[in-house]
Point group: C2
Chain length 911, copies 2
């Protein structure tokens, strides 16, 4: 017969520490502690399976299981020598939730179960402490009322506070037994009124109802949300732990506390915790009384303290990880109520892992697996001083696009950002950003947008720059023209004007009014460096590159350990103010000759950029992508032109001057030239630019663009190589769907390369020509494409857009709903959609390698910095991932973990 109920206590247990699936984290911890002889109040765990059965069985427990529970209760009564509901010698119980994965505070707990109007008297008598007994009873009614009877917590608080006021009690402990009896009477009246029934007096009924309430809390709103956030499956269910009560509130020889075997904020090896004398568990966290540091316990109850240190120290050794524990001391006797691996900050995770290796507690490979790659993010970006946040008003919550704390004065245009940044920090606030905004982003402390998701332009570029960024803060109504935004705070509209201080956190996505304080992390601490070295050993030959467009980013990337540039977006170089006029001249050219002339002006500028990248990457490969975005991105916006043309007849001199500046057309010529400019912009206008005239399609129709770029690349390579710096250019043709596209562009690049290298006497300089696989057809015909390509780089942003038919700039209109309904398992623009996009990637890797076994394969989409996507890339056999510079350490760690989780141990260097 299947077992559903597992007893523990008294030095033995039915279950053990490995049974988290069945017993949940708390239950298995209690079982393991019992087996290890740790003093644990006896009890039993009702398995997680029963939770699922409860829901499947129309919110009730089948008879057989009820019987098994009754038997366990009988046993427990025997063990304690007390009986549940026995007025003379009542057994009191706690019922607590406990799922496989810790969900702190998300589910329910009921203490002091078994008290009723009779047993409370027995407890009063036996404990010789009536006040204690009535306090337990009123606590029980309150918790049971909230949890099992769904009565609003505030109603109980109201009664309690009214009584305190009436007797002028300052602290809860100022209330005497009489007060508490009065409160109990009022509580019971409240229950009768709210449920239409008296407060249940039958202790076994109390137990059944509490157990069911604990199960139901699995689907509580907070718990369900938490699971979605933490990607915990819904079908795990929670266990219910029924345990003999021990009391920390029996006087000054009693107490209760929580602690960690190391500091969970820093990881330092100090005994860390808090306790309260004469208190029950929830008092420590409730904040009503200020708890003592755990060190104080040593002088108050030295024996209990010594025992606690010994037990927790042993538990840490036993579990080989930092422990988060709860304890209660009843009349001087220590009981352990819980132990589990403690949650910790990124810094702590790193320090604990490294120090445990030094202590010989764990191996390096375990240390690597102990730190979640995303936790490193905290070590690489400035953080808020949490205290300083408290004085600020939170005005919005958006989407966490790029981590880090940002503080600055609000500016609404890139131009203003440049102007004001000279005088102090600014935050660029835009409805959405476009490539025009790059120069504003470069000087800003952070970027805040009202629309767009994690893969919007703002998000992608900000992450590339390591710039904190929050996007999609829909509560902000931004009026870029009048340079302010409006946001509802409570019931009031607050207007934030240019120059006002704002702060935001790119990790929590919270936006504040005012100027918060920040602190800098130290990413180059020796411990971090050592840890990353271990990771690199396990990672083996699997490479990590960075996406970097300018030399500054390339240098940052090297500092973070990037082994090359996986993507340089050449177009970002064209938006600088000294270049955009030539770019526009090139686009507006009516014939090839005029276009070539404009391109000639751009050539030396691009050459200089590329030279900077090659220098920064000395000896590491640099993948340069030829022009990708639609040409209209470089021209004024169509709608702005239309509006200005409509305004022109009645425009003031000042307005005309503004137009003149923004279009680079003398005011006197606006009337003539604005319509012509609009006409050209109309010609280039696209309904779906993402699927339009872009990528290699530009180079096919205008080969002279590819030719100019190839020339800039190879002239730069020659120039840098002549300085004795090793240069490895890899030219990448974007948006290839047909082998012929790549073949035609390759022909141009090869011709120019031969020409330039021959002239320089450097025909031996090695380079590669490859392509991005970023549309489904490219992946499907990868065998053909690989006949021409020397490398593939998966552009998973576009591949996700096309495979899912979702624009990353538009999908936020429905993506929240899709996450809520679990249509999305994860945001597909953050984590590779393995069933859809992943299938195409696997196919393309297989087809590509079948044609060309030497094909170099990597990824340069945003997913390259996402740990679970890195694991996927490793698994399907890519050679490297490329991500934004600030995510390089994350990718290095994720790659090491992927390697450790796979069987490909032959790839590892000796550790």
């Amino acid at each position: 017969m299947k077992k559903f109920v597992y007893a523990f206590g008294g030095g033995k247990a039915d279950g053990d520490g490995k049974m988290k699936d069945v017993l949940g984290g708390k239950g298995s911890g209690l079982a393991e502690m019992s087996r290890a002889g740790v003093p644990v109040p006896p009890g039993f765990t009702i398995s997680t399976e029963v939770c699922n059965i409860y829901f499947q069985n129309n919110n009730s427990i089948p008879k057989e299981i009820e019987q098994e529970i009754a038997q366990a209760l009988d046993q427990l009564e025997k063990q304690n020598g007390k009986k549940l509901g026995d007025p003379a010698n009542p057994l009191l119980l706690s019922v607590r939730s406990g799922a496989k994965f810790s969900m702190p505070g998300m589910m329910n707990t009921i203490l002091n179960l078994g008290l009723n109007d009779q047993t409370v008297e027995g407890l009063a008598k036996n404990s010789a402490n009536p006040r204690f007994a009535y306090d337990c009873y009123r606590r029980f009614i309150q918790m049971f009322g909230e949890v099992a009877l769904d009565i609003d917590m505030k109603k109980f608080d109201h009664i309690f506070d009214a009584r305190k006021k009436k007797v002028k009690a300052k602290l809860d402990t100022d209330l005497n037994a009489h007060d508490l009896k009065s409160i109990i009477a009022d509580y019971k009246t409240l229950v009768q009124k709210k449920t239409g029934k008296p407060f249940p007096q039958d202790a076994r009924q109390q137990l059944a109802m509490s157990r069911d309430a604990v199960f139901r809390s699995w689907w509580g709103k907070n718990a369900a949300n938490y699971r979605r956030m933490e990607k915990i499956p819904d079908d795990l269910g929670t266990a219910a732990n029924v345990q003999t009560m021990v009391f920390g509130n029996l006087g000054d020889d009693s107490g209760t506390g929580v602690g960690f075997t190391r500091d969970p904020a820093t990881g330092e090896k100090v005994f860390w915790g808090e306790f309260l004398l004469n208190a029950q568990g929830e008092d420590v966290v409730a904040g009503i009384r200020t708890p003592h540091p755990i060190a104080d316990l040593e002088s108050i109850m030295p024996d209990a303290y010594r025992q606690l240190r010994q037990i927790t120290s042993n538990l840490e050794k036993h579990y080989r990880d930092m422990q988060d524990f709860e304890f209660t001391i009843e009349h001087g006797k220590l009981y352990m109520l819980q132990t589990r691996n403690g949650k910790r900050t990124g810094a702590a995770a790193l320090r604990v892992a490294v120090e445990m290796v030094k202590e010989g507690l764990i191996e390096k490979r375990e240390a690597i697996l102990r730190v979640a790659p995303n936790q490193l993010d905290q070590l690489l970006h400035p953080l808020f001083d949490q205290a300083s946040l408290k004085s600020l008003t939170k005005i919005a919550n958006g989407i966490d696009a790029s981590p880090g704390a940002a503080v600055g004065r609000a500016v609404f245009t890139a131009e203003e950002a440049v102007v004001r940044a000279a005088d102090g920090p600014v935050i660029l606030v835009r409805k959405e950003t476009t490539p025009d905004d790059i120069h504003g982003m470069e000087v800003a402390e952070g970027v805040l947008t009202a629309v767009g998701g994690k893969s919007s332009h703002a998000a992608v570029v900000a992450r590339g720059m390591g710039l904190p960024c929050v996007v999609g803060a829909g509560a902000l109504h931004i009026d870029e023209h009048n340079r302010h935004f409006t946001v509802k705070v409570g019931l009031k509209d607050v207007v934030v004007k240019e120059g006002d201080w704002i702060s935001f956190d790119g990790t929590t996505a919270d936006v504040y009014l005012g100027q918060a304080k920040t602190k800098d992390p130290d990413p180059n601490s020796p411990m971090f460096v050592e840890f990353m070295k271990w990771a690199d050993v396990f990672r083996g030959r699997f490479g990590v590159r960075a996406n970097a467009d300018i030399p500054r980013d390339a240098k940052a990337a090297r500092a973070f350990g990037a082994e090359g540039i996986g993507l340089c977006r050449t177009e970002h170089m064209f938006f600088a103010s000294d270049r955009i006029p030539h770019m526009q001249a090139m686009i507006l050219a009516e014939d090839e000759k005029t276009r070539s002339k404009a391109l000639q002006k751009l050539l030396p500028m691009q050459r200089k950029d590329f030279a900077g990248l090659f220098e920064a990457m000395n000896g590491y490969p640099v993948i340069i992508r030829t022009l990708d975005p639609p040409l209209h991105e470089f021209l004024p916006k169509r709608e702005n032109l239309m509006v200005d043309l409509a305004r022109l007849p009645h425009a003031t001199t000042k307005e005309k001057k503004e137009m003149s500046e923004s279009y680079g057309i003398p005011a006197g010529e606006l009337k003539k030239r604005l319509p012509l400019l609009l006409k050209r912009v109309e010609d280039l206008h696209e309904f779906n630019p993402m699927l339009g005239f872009r990528g290699c399609r530009l180079g096919i129709v205008h080969p002279e663009i590819t030719e100019m770029q190839a020339r800039a690349i190879f002239e730069a390579a020659v120039q840098v190589a002549k300085k004795g710096i090793k240069v490895i250019p890899e030219v990448m043709i974007p948006l290839v769907g047909f082998k012929q596209e790549l073949a035609m562009q390759k022909e141009i690049v090869e011709r120019v390369a031969n020409e330039v290298l021959s002239k320089a006497g450097m025909k031996n300089l090695k380079y590669m020509i490859g392509t991005m696989i970023e549309i489904p057809r490219g992946a499907e015909t990868a065998d053909q494409v690989a006949q021409v390509a020397q490398f593939f780089s998966f552009g998973t942003n576009d591949l996700t857009q096309t495979t899912l038919g979702m624009s990353r700039d538009d999908y936020t209109k429905f993506s929240k709903k899709y996450e809520e309904l679990k249509i999305f398992k994860a945001d597909p623009f953050q984590t590779i959609d393995q069933e859809g996009v992943g299938k195409l990637i696997e196919l393309a890797v297989k087809l590509g390698r079948a044609t060309n076994p030497k094909l170099e394969i990597g990824i340069c989409g945003e997913h390259g910095g996402d740990p679970s996507s890195v694991e996927f890339c490793y698994r399907v056999g890519m050679d490297y991932v490329s991500c934004s510079p600030y995510r390089v350490p994350i990718a290095r760690l994720a790659a090491a973990q992927a390697a450790l989780s796979s069987d490909k141990s032959e790839l590892m260097r000796t550790a």
Copy 2:
């Protein structure tokens, strides 16, 4: 040893009629005729392979092949008893191209080869006709000069015309031998001047040069373009046919002509052709002299006529198809120079095929394979009276989007179309159309746009309506605001204003100024009906449905033989002027209640539409797609709002009135409400609407929309079924990429269906719920989707857009270049891209059927009416195709041909 040269003539031949690959059409025809004893001037064919070798061998012929040619020439000289270049008795030759597929007029021919300053005298003497000899010589120099020496034809014409002028000759035949000798002298001077060398006198050199020129003409510009258009592979090459000259210009007992065994325009079984006395071949087609009807030959040369009729009649029987032949009569003796299956119009193809079956010449299955499906198009649309076109000015050529001839007055807005259509035919001229224009299209004779391709909105909707349409006529500069367009004619700008007559041909895509005459075809002729019946028998169970949105189209579809509706786009119903306000109210609703109220208004309207479709399709299935397009399509355009808002402060009363009407906002409220409307439009604005908030994503976020539509469908079904009409509703959920999307929408539809059908007591009414497969992820996860879907319909428009990463509204910016460079084998929005899109379709069919063997599978994209795509759909095992009503007969025929070409004969009913 491999054979490269094939002799023919004198009742025998090395090759035969089956060797078109090797000998080309002309060569194999000559061989076949020789073998059949038809009088053919002897000669030899240099195989198509030699053409390829010529190009591979650096434009020269290897020695061994030169030797083989020389041997064939020796043989020919012996057979004729004449020698090439022999001044006494010269052999004269023709050299003609001839590829596997006929490419009329695209490649080169040289006649009278072998003449030089000596042999011309021999010819003069032997023929006793010096004028004839000199005429032959001057013709030869001219042709050789143009073809082999690349001298501009006009230079020769200039000399010839100067001479005619000088001697006051009206006709060429007015020139005497002396004149011709003078012309010859001038021609030779021209050759010397242009080539720096004298005109070659060596007859064997003339032959080699002519042969090479014929080969080179394979890559002539016209020939290459023609191959691209007709999808003839480039690597076939042309043969060169070297043949003994016979002369139709030896006096009035000689002549030359061309003819068909049946009328190639109508297919009628009459002996059809033209001839000229005393003339050489090119004179018949050159139009200098008016040829005689072939019937006249009977009285002039009765013997030759009788022999010609006998021979051609036998040839038709031999080839079992209508013959297109050329003949020459030399001194009363008939020679056949060519025979081939004749090109014909759609009407002729149909009539010839049907009548040949009746004559017992071919079987029904052959008849079906004899008519190209696209030829039927000509039978289903009005045609221009070609004569009336000649008086009109051609002003542009666009992209042929929907066939048929259209004549009407130009209008530039849908509203004006409605107003003016009351008074006479109109043509709607738009930069591009949007769903707003539908009511204008409904009343227009045709639609003409300046941008967009074959899959643009205008094209798709027009084909659906059977409305002639030309798109992408980029030469037209349309000013919709001022209601005119400008177009360059020659060097002049012509302005076409509203109300001016224009005409265009949806097949040739030519646009004319003025009012052409049209004539109607008769698609319901008994012959057409009979032919289509045969096709349906071969087609077997493979179905053909139509895409139809309104009852009128559904009725047309039935008339064309559609067996159901494969796609009803419900959104088209919302654009009517009585509905759009409710649609807008629904979209602008701030809460669900207001939205539901607006939906309630739409419900009875949709119900009525669906009832109309069900009635029209009595007993055939009707697939209704739930709302698909992004909601902003139903709102005013963002840029228009922005412009009007900018204009508002200075707007005149008239302008305000216009705005008021166009937005349905009282003039006095514009100032207040226009910004609010713009804000909502901004909220819904998308960067890539194709990849945005549309399809089932709408129904997931706003389930009340799906619910309303489901209710309308099933209430309509009940209503119609109660009349005793059989109703088969199939509800289709668009844009599914995740199984859960379909499952959630299906739940709504099923719930409403159960409710409505139960209430009506019609729980037995059969219906299906399925999905469109139109994004790659849907195809890749088709096994999962098929767990929920009862049918799949491939939306190949969107699937092509996403798989290729190409927007059908934008790809025309580069598609012409892509076709030119042969990156596209065919327009992927017209013919399924089998390597990319096709692979996904095959995968989805396989995965879908693996999960659900009963899955009904069809296609409803534009490709459903394209013959080669129909063949593909048949091959991968779909159940049906669905296309616009006017393409249903084409799809029926294409399906029949697919069935005949496949091995799945078990699918056929008995023929």
